[in-house]
Amino acid sequence: MQVNGEFQPTIVAFCCNWCSYAGADLSGTNRLQYPANVKIIRIPCSCRLNPLFILRAFQRGADGVILCGCHPGDCHYTTGNYYARRRMTLLFSMLDYLGIEKERTRVEWVSAAEGGKFAATMNDFVAAVTKLGPNRRLEDLRCSKD
């Protein structure tokens, strides 16, 4: 999306309900700033994230997609993030293989106590995606806004 001439990436952040979503809340409670480009979608566990959702986001105009879940070993459902870890590793590797900028996708483990880490992660991710510019390689021209 272009806002007065300068590129504003659209970022979708999938957060697991138990750790990362709470971490996001905490960074709010602590008034830790991160760009409004980031919009959070709450999912029960990182293992709920279907690769379809990531592609869907890119199709609909997202420039970056990030998944946040409990630290490995701390999953509320004990094993969810282990599966998510393998799935995302392989998916990201495949996107890279197809020549899609690998910096557009990321996974971070953020606990409910890591409000600071959540904000820092988002700041960093938004900066990285802004540097890349708009998503062209995985966009659907029918949905493009410019």
Binding site: P72, R86, T89, D96, K102
Partner: protein
């Protein structure tokens, strides 16, 4: 070889071991064999063919055939047995209704390669020594069998028959013909090069679904791409995104279940090297989670349905990912 198979098929029908036989049926030409179900010794005598053009992997037909009542015999080549066993593992085939005859194979041929080699109007091919002689409307044409092999057979992964009730010919060994070379070549490219390579390939896709419908791993009751409720349904690639989407998700859905049988590339009318997508997943899995061959056994967990606490973090992609140029 062919005679042996015929005799076996006839014997199995005669002694009532089976009621039906799944094999390859003669076509209009020497090369256009069709998978078929034979019911009588007469049909076998008349139409059963096993040749270098018996490329079709028959295992997927057994999903339906094994449920039709009675017992069915199937002739499976080494690579087909992997698909068969993977389907057993997924409870898609009723094992007790299938009699598997394992047949050894030294590679099947690609008629389109033969034609591309200048044999247009080809009417017959005979093996002479290690070469092939093609008779065409415009005269004879020689070529080495190697150049006629299907891509997948040129880098055959295994001559081992992993499951069978009876074996015709020798049991074989797993092979290492460097089937990942092409993947590595792509990995060495820059992202830009890879992007334009895949755009070029995938933009030829006509979404005929041949790759999906022939794939033994794609045996879903209903594919999400056909299902209006999946949110992913699309009948034709209305946008380059949908070309990418279909092939990424298809590869992901079969990842760690795909045995690398190569049927997808064999049947693609547009010659898109789809197996390079599946092989990328296989290569990553081998490198990140330990060597794994789908269909090689009945009990190991597919890597995508398994984990270890020490698995690599997705960020590993940033270091090890392509762009090694």
């Amino acid at each position: 070889m062919q005679q042996g198979l015929k005799e076996k098929a006839i014997q199995l029908l005669k002694d009532k071991t089976v009621d039906r036989v799944v094999g390859w049926k003669a076509g209009e030409f020497f090369y256009d064999l069709t998978p078929a179900v034979f019911h009588t010794p007469e049909e076998i005598e008349k139409d059963f063919v096993f040749s270098v053009f018996s490329g079709a992997n028959l295992s997927k037909y057994l999903i339906a055939e094994s449920r039709k009542g009675g017992k069915v015999a199937a002739f499976l080549k080494p690579c087909d047995t992997y698909s068969f066993q993977q389907l057993l593992k997924e409870h898609r085939i009723l094992r007790e209704n299938v009699y598997v005859v394992g047949v050894q194979c030294d590679g099947t041929c690609d008629i389109e390669k033969i034609k591309a080699a200048g044999c247009d109007g080809v009417t017959a091919v005979r093996e002479e020594g290690d070469g092939l002689v093609a008779e065409t409307l415009y005269g004879e044409h020689r070529m080495s069998k190697k150049d006629a092999l299907l891509d997948r057979c040129a880098v055959c992964k295994s001559h081992k028959l992993v499951v069978y009730d009876e074996l015709l010919g020798e049991q074989g060994e797993e092979q290492d013909a460097g089937r990942f070379a092409e993947v590595e070549k792509l990995e060495r490219m820059t992202p830009e090069e890879r992007y334009s390579f895949w755009r070029g390939e995938l933009s030829r896709c006509i979404r005929c679904n041949a790759c999906r419908n022939v794939c033994p791993a794609c045996s879903c009751e209903k594919c999400i791409f056909d299902n209006p409720d999946s949110g992913a349904r699309n009948k034709a690639a209305a946008d380059s995104f949908e070309e990418n989407m279909f092939h990424i998700i298809r590869a992901f859905h079969v990842a760690s279940r795909c045995t690398d049988c190569g049927e997808c590339s064999r049947v693609c009318p547009q010659h898109i090297p789809l197996h390079l997508l599946n092989r990328k997943f296989i290569k990553d899995i081998d490198e990140l989670y330990g060597e794994y061959q789908a269909g090689a056994d009945m009990d190991t967990k597919p890597p995508l349905m398994d984990f270890t606490k020490g698995d690599a973090d997705p960020s590993v992609v940033y270091e090890r990912g392509g762009d090694k140029a």
